[in-house]
């Protein structure tokens, strides 16, 4: 998800190829090649330029619609609707081969789905299945206290910084995370899943959102070679 303005002009992108199962885009203005995963130009006149990331959410349509009733939705393109993946496409993709180099002691399987989080140079992969419906996960990445929430059976993922006014809050589920409410300690304020405090002393405050990437382990690791892996109960 990238802004189109780079190098002082608005670019337009085309598909240009595959680099280790992550696609390459070519801009129509300079012909430079860009990596989709990193938003960086890897070849051509703009090599080294980075696109500005647009923060986005990866959640179920039901959640998105509830929180943004006025949203518009990309329609199915009738000329290519036959090419769209089946509802079980994630299972099919999980069986595809992996081509990047691996060490014999990988902590996760190639196509394990991870929630990748990067903050000021530190990156960590969270095994999606381990976080699913577990309620809020309070962690610390680099120097930053962060909060992860995986709800709706792993189909919605959100990550926040959990520092408010210089104080790191700890969160726990009100009555199961699907109740749509979490509570912090020490203030006992109630928050919704968008990171907004809706009752209690911190009412009206909002947690800063981080942009997690839901990705396969092999791909996350390719673009974050220094990543570590979260282990529950650590």
């Amino acid at each position: 998800m990238w802004e189109l303005t780079a190098d002082g002009r608005e670019l337009e992108f085309h598909l240009a190829g595959i680099n280790n199962e992550n696609f390459i885009m070519r801009d129509g203005q300079t012909g430079s090649w860009w990596q989709q995963a990193s938003g960086q130009a890897i070849l051509g006149p703009l090599k080294g330029t980075k696109l500005k990331r647009v923060p986005h959410d990866e959640v179920t349509f039901a959640t998105w619609k509830r929180e943004h009733p006025a949203t518009r939705v990309l329609k199915r393109d009738p000329t290519t609707a036959g090419k769209y993946a089946a509802a079980n496409w994630e299972e099919e993709v999980a069986a595809y081969p992996v081509v990047t180099p691996r060490s014999p002691r990988e902590p996760l399987k190639d196509r394990d789905l991870v929630v990748g989080v990067e903050i000021s140079g530190a990156s960590r992969a969270y095994l999606l299945s381990e976080l699913t419906d577990r309620g809020p996960v309070n962690d610390r990445l680099g120097d930053s206290p962060i909060l992860l929430m995986v709800f709706e059976g792993g189909r919605s993922v959100r990550v926040f910084e959990r520092t408010v006014e210089g104080q790191a809050l700890e969160f726990f589920a009100a009555t199961g995370v699907d109740s749509g409410r979490i509570i912090d300690t020490p203030t006992g304020s109630t928050w919704d899943l968008t990171g907004l405090a809706i009752a209690g002393p911190l009412s009206g405050r909002r947690l800063a959102r981080l942009n997690p990437l839901l990705d396969y382990w092999f791909d996350w690791k390719t673009y974050h070679p220094d990543t570590d892996v979260y282990r529950a109960g650590r």
């Binding site: 998800m1 990238w2 802004e3 189109l4 303005t5 608005e10 337009e12 992108f13 085309h14 598909l15 240009a16 190829g17 595959i18 680099n19 280790n20 199962e21 696609f23 390459i24 885009m25 012909g31 090649w33 989709q36 070849l43 051509g44 647009v54 923060p55 986005h56 959410d57 990866e58 959640v59 179920t60 349509f61 039901a62 998105w64 619609k65 943004h68 009733p69 006025a70 949203t71 518009r72 939705v73 990309l74 329609k75 199915r76 393109d77 000329t79 290519t80 090419k83 769209y84 993946a85 509802a87 496409w89 595809y96 081969p97 081509v99 990047t100 180099p101 709706e152 189909r155 919605s156």
Partner: protein, 154 residues
């Protein structure tokens, strides 16, 4: 000479097709070579095709046999085909980004079940959702949300 021309043309378009195909491990060198070939092959193969036409015309009179003329025709067709292919973006034959993406208001989006995952963007008060199942095919959608030009990728 004609064979060499056609051979070079075929390699110029064939090598990047082979190098940057899915499910093959790509090294930085593979990408560099592919980039250079994709960049210059449209012009290069057109020039070579021009030479090929010239050579075939020159040799045609002096080659009355059906075999030789057949060979010349084949070389000509190959040269023209590769020049045409070099102008194409074959990746967008497989995954077509929508030329004119259309949007529906949420309440009219009956084609999308509530449990389907979407990529959601909200900028300056405007919200847009891109169903992941559609994005997994298109890969690229250009849009403007809250006045900001952006590209949605998956």
């Amino acid at each position: 000479m004609l064979c060499l021309l056609v051979g070079v043309s075929l390699l110029a378009v064939g090598i990047p097709v082979w190098l940057i195909q899915p499910f093959r491990h790509q090294t930085p060198q593979d990408l560099e070579v592919s980039y250079l070939l994709r960049r210059w092959s449209p012009v290069g193969t057109s020039i070579l095709a021009g030479f090929a036409v010239f050579w075939v015309l020159r040799l045609w009179r002096g080659s009355p046999g059906i075999l030789r003329r057949g060979g010349l025709s084949l070389a000509l067709v190959l040269a023209l085909l590769t020049a045409w292919f070099a102008q194409q973006n074959h990746f967008e034959w497989l995954f077509r980004p929508p030329a004119h993406p259309e949007y529906a208001p949420a309440e009219e989006a009956s084609f999308l079940a509530g449990e389907e995952r979407v990529l959601g963007i909200e900028l300056k008060g405007e919200a847009a959702a891109y169903p992941i199942r559609q994005m997994a095919y298109h890969h690229l959608v250009h849009d403007r949300v809250g006045g900001v030009p952006l590209v949605v990728t998956y």
